[in-house]
């Protein structure tokens, strides 16, 4: 039993000895690779760093860790005498982050020198935009920054989801970085429809051909401001009655008839010697007719001028308010805003 137990113990020890290496996280592998580099164990460092950088999925290195791993890998390969592999690691690093620069305090001049050579010849670009931009009025725009590893000609354009260009934003040389803006409109000046767009940056080689493209996803949504409700119609309770019920009309009739009678009898009462001219009956007839007219008119509902004027003022004020709201709503319908959500840039084509 003893030899068997010893064998089993050795197997268990071997298993427990190997497990930590297999269970190491990429970050731990990265740290181990860096330590190997610092201990001048370049072969072990290269293997460990490559293993750490090869990890994908949720356990993969973060962007910062990957950049650190690549710069140590490039330095390691340089000291292993593999200059091309070192340049490839630095190129890979620059494609990931064109703005990356090697720390001259950590690495010797031969490393930083190679990195510099690679950087100058690498056509790498990155594009960044404000994550959320709202274009509400004229003059508002989406701000985009383009970063390049080296001075290079670039084309910046917004493309529709199907790849059809919507608008070219920039064509020219970028030495280090460039800030450009997009007002959310197509080349013909029309507002971009809601949908997905791609802001693409093409890096061109010395021969003018596109050597690499990176893109930024833009989700555009048209935003219409809510219109204001029209003021409520004037309630009847706010309006004064404009008519009062008609009277019996007898007063107008009696007044007319009394005046007509006065015309007829005045000569007899006041001037017995006048005789009374027959033309006065015309006046009497006119008064009698006016009395009948008054009888008819006074029976109708009688307008109340002060109430009509007050109601008119209320209606006018309401109409002014409604017109103001209508004008504001028309302006709101005309002024459509945009909400633009920008993603993270990704390589689109090229290396």
């Amino acid at each position: 039993m003893r030899p068997t137990a010893a064998l089993l113990g050795l197997l268990a020890l071997a298993a427990s000895w190997g497990r930590p290496a297999l269970a190491q996280t990429p970050a731990e592998q990265l740290a181990r690779g860096v330590r190997s580099y610092q201990n001048l164990d370049f072969d072990n460092a290269a293997a460990t760093l490559r293993a750490a950088l090869a990890r994908t999925g949720p356990a993969a290195l973060s962007d910062t860790e990957q950049a650190r791993g690549l710069v140590y890998l490039g330095a390691t390969e340089l000291y292993r005498g593999r200059r091309d592999s070192a340049a490839a690691a630095f190129g890979r690093l620059l494609f990931r982050d064109p703005r990356y620069r090697v720390d001259q305090l950590l690495f010797p001049p031969e490393v930083t020198g190679l990195f510099q050579q690679v950087r100058i010849t690498t056509r790498a670009a990155a594009v960044v935009a404000t994550p959320l931009t709202q274009l509400r009025r004229a003059g508002d725009h989406l701000v985009v920054w383009v970063y390049t590893a080296s001075s290079q000609p670039v084309n910046v354009a917004v493309l529709r989801a199907n790849g059809v260009p919507l608008r070219s934003l920039y064509q020219g040389e970028v030495a280090d970085s460039l800030q450009i803006s997009w007002d959310g409109r197509a080349a013909d000046g029309s507002l971009a429809d809601s949908g997905r767009y791609l802001l693409r940056v093409d890096s061109r080689g010395d021969d003018g051909r596109v050597v690499r493209s990176v893109g930024l996803r833009l989700d555009v949504m048209q935003v219409r401001r809510d219109t204001l409700p029209l003021p409520l119609p004037l309630a009847d309770s706010l309006l004064s009655p404009e008519f009062r019920p008609g009277s019996s009309g007898r007063r107008g009739l009696m007044t007319g008839l009394a005046a007509a009678t006065a015309v007829v009898v005045l000569p007899s009462v006041l001037a017995s010697k006048a005789g009374g001219m027959s033309e006065r009956f015309v006046v009497a007839l006119a008064l009698g007719t006016a009395g009948l007219y008054g009888f008819q008119v006074q029976r109708r509902p009688q307008p109340i001028p002060e109430n009509i004027a007050a109601n008119q003022a209320l209606r006018l004020a309401w109409q002014r308010q409604a017109d103001s709201v209508s004008a504001e709503n028309a302006a709101r319908r005309r002024n459509i805003g945009l909400t633009i959500r920008a993603g993270v840039w990704r390589p689109v084509a090229g290396q």
Binding site: G252, T255, G256, A258, A259, A262, V263, L266, P267, V269, L270, A271, S272, K273, A274, G275, G276, M277, E279, R280, V282, V283, A284, A286, L287, A290, G291, Y293, G294, V297, Q298, Q302, P303, P305
Partner: protein, 216 residues
């Protein structure tokens, strides 16, 4: 009757609505055309004349108190331009007030002259007038009826045996057009003056068509 009675009536009106510290509110004017008939009756006879009389009137108001002046002139004849004729000239100056909205009280002198080839007969009458005015229909077409009566508190004439009294009246209607300062008035007026001892009675009546601007 005496001049003191007339002066007292005028003073009463002025005291009722003092003019002091009241500025003029508005002025209205009117012009009228009258078909007039004059009748003179003496014991055993008389004459009748008729014709057209043109007149103007202006009134300025101090709140409820108004000052009104009028002038009218025309020619009266026996008929068709033949026979005896007279020119009639009439002028008046009244102070008026409205104790209630429908009633106007007036007082003031009225002068009338009949100009004939044989001489001019001049009457001076200090009158007191009361005028009632009330609407018949409104407001689309404003129609108002009025009745006015007057009596001379003091009267005089430059003919023997002198004046014994005078009185008269008027009735008619005023039509105001909506949203217009113009108005029309159709009225009938009559007055009669007497001389002492019933020596003579003169009556003047007219159908008057008036167009006015402002006021009513």
């Amino acid at each position: 009757m005496s001049a003191r009675v007339a002066a007292l009536a005028l003073a009463c009106i002025l005291v009722a609505r003092p003019l002091a510290a009241q500025g003029p509110r508005f002025v209205d004017v009117e012009a009228d055309l009258s078909r007039a008939r004059f009748r003179s009756a003496v014991p055993g006879g008389g004459e009748a004349l008729s014709g057209l009389v043109l007149g103007v009137r202006a009134r300025t108001s101090f709140r409820a108190v108004s000052l009104e002046a009028s002038y009218a002139q025309g020619r009266l004849s026996a008929g068709e331009g033949s026979g005896p004729s007279r020119s009639v000239v009439d002028g008046s100056l009244f102070v008026s007030t409205l104790p209630v909205p429908w009633l106007t009280l007036k007082a003031g002198p009225q002068l009338r002259a009949y100009v004939a080839p044989g001489g001019t007969e001049r009457w001076v009458m200090w009158e007191f007038r009361a005028r009632a005015e009330t609407p018949i229909a409104s407001p689309a077409l404003s129609l108002r009826a009025h009745v006015e009566v007057w009596a001379a508190l003091v009267s005089s004439v430059n003919a023997d045996p002198g004046a014994a009294g005078a009185r008269g009246g008027q009735a008619g209607m005023v039509m105001g057009l909506p949203r217009s300062p113009l108005w029309l008035r159709l009225s009938y007026a009559v007055d009669q003056v007497k001389m002492k001892d019933n020596a003579r009675t003169e009556a003047l009546e007219a159908v008057v068509l008036t167009i006015g601007l402002g006021g009513r």
